[in-house]
C-alpha cells in the first residue's frame, strides 16, 4: 500500500480538525476538533511505524501514549467547560471575552451566578488570613482582623 494513502487521509483529518477548532462556537465542539487533530497525528504515527518497521515499535507505542494524553486532556477540558457552564449558563466561546483587550471594557454582561465572583474575594481573604497566621505570632492578629474587615459587605451575611 502506498505510504501516501494514510498520510493524505491524516492531512485532511488534521485540516478538518483545524477548521473545527477555529470555526465552532460551542466549546464541546471545539474539543471535538482537537480530538480530530489528535487522531490525524495518530494515523500518521501508525503509518510511519509500519513503513519504517523498527523493532522498538516506537510509532505504535507513541500512539498509545497520545491516546492516553488525549483522554486526560478531554477529561480536564470538559471539567473546565462544565465550570464555565456553571458560571455563565452557556458554553459559547465567542461570548467569553473577559480577557479581550478593548478600550473601556466594562464588567462582563452575562454573568449569571454573581456569588461565584465573590469566591475570588473570599479566597483572597483566606489567603491574607492564612499568610498572616503563618507568619505567626500574636502581633499579626490585628493585621488579619484588618484584612477581614476589608472584605466585601455582601459576603458578611453568609453562614
Amino acid at each position: 500500500m502506498p505510504l501516501l494513502y494514510p498520510l493524505l487521509v491524516s492531512t485532511l483529518l488534521f485540516a478538518i480538525g483545524v477548521y473545527g477548532v477555529l470555526a465552532r462556537r460551542n466549546a464541546i465542539l471545539v474539543l471535538m476538533g482537537v480530538e480530530l487533530m489528535l487522531n490525524a497525528v495518530n494515523l500518521n504515527l501508525v503509518a510511519f511505524d509500519t513503513w519504517h518497521g523498527d523493532g522498538l515499535r516506537s510509532g505504535q507505542v507513541l500512539t498509545l501514549f497520545v491516546i492516553t494524553i488525549a483522554a486526560a486532556e478531554i477529561g480536564l477540558g470538559l471539567a473546565i467547560v462544565l465550570r464555565l457552564f456553571r458560571l455563565r449558563a452557556h458554553v459559547d466561546v465567542d461570548r467569553v471575552r473577559d480577557l479581550a483587550d478593548r478600550e473601556g471594557a466594562g464588567p462582563p454582561e452575562d454573568v449569571m451566578v454573581a456569588d461565584e465572583w465573590a469566591d475570588g474575594a473570599d479566597h483572597a481573604r483566606d489567603l491574607v488570613d492564612g499568610s498572616a497566621e503563618r507568619m505567626g505570632g500574636g502581633e499579626h492578629v490585628d493585621g488579619a482582623d484588618q484584612a477581614r474587615s476589608t472584605q466585601p459587605a455582601g459576603s458578611g451575611g453568609q453562614g
Binding site: 500500500m1 505510504l3 488534521f14 478538518i16 480530538e35 487522531n39 507505542v61 491516546i67 471539567a79 462544565l82
Partner: protein, 185 residues
Amino acid sequence: MTAVRVLFLLLGVVAVGSALLVVTTRRVVHAALWLVVTLGALAGCYLLLTAELVAWVQVLIYVGAVVVLLVFALMLTRSPTAPVADLTTANAWFAGIVAVAVAGVVGTTLVAGFRGEVIDLAGASIGGAEAIGTAVFATWVLPFEVLSVLLLAALVGAIVLSTARARRRDREGIHDGVHDGEGSG
C-alpha cells in the same frame, strides 16, 4: 493487496466525510455521533496497517470513553437536540482558508517527501498485544510510568475543578467556627 488498498481508501473516505460532518453539522449531538463514525473508521485503518492493539485501544478509549464523556458533557450543558443556527462563528470563512492552507502545506510536503514509498504490509509484523506489550515494558517503561503520573495529575485537576464550590462551603464552615472561637475568647 489491492483489496487492502481499496478497503483503506473506503475507510479513509468514510473517516474524512464523517469528520467533515462533525465540524459542519447544525445538531450538536449529531456531531458527537459522527465523531464515533470517524473514530471507528480510523480504528479500521489501524487494523489494515497491522496495528492491531492500537485499533482495539482506539475503540476502547476513544469510542468507548471519550465519546461517552463528550455526550455526558453535552447533556450536562443542556445542549439542544434541535438544529442550532449559530453553531459556527461569523469568521468561519477565515477558518476555512486556514484549514485549506494547512492541508495544502502539509499535503504538498508529504507528497514531495514520500511519493512512491510503499508500505510492505506482507512483510510487516503484526503489532498485537504481545509485541506492543513487550516493547512498552522493555523499552518504553520510563515514559509509561511518567504517563501514569500525568494521568493522576489530570484526575486530581478534574476533581478540583468540578468540586470547587463544595470545598468552599466546607472551608467557610471551618472558618466561621474559628471566628466564633476568637470572638468568645
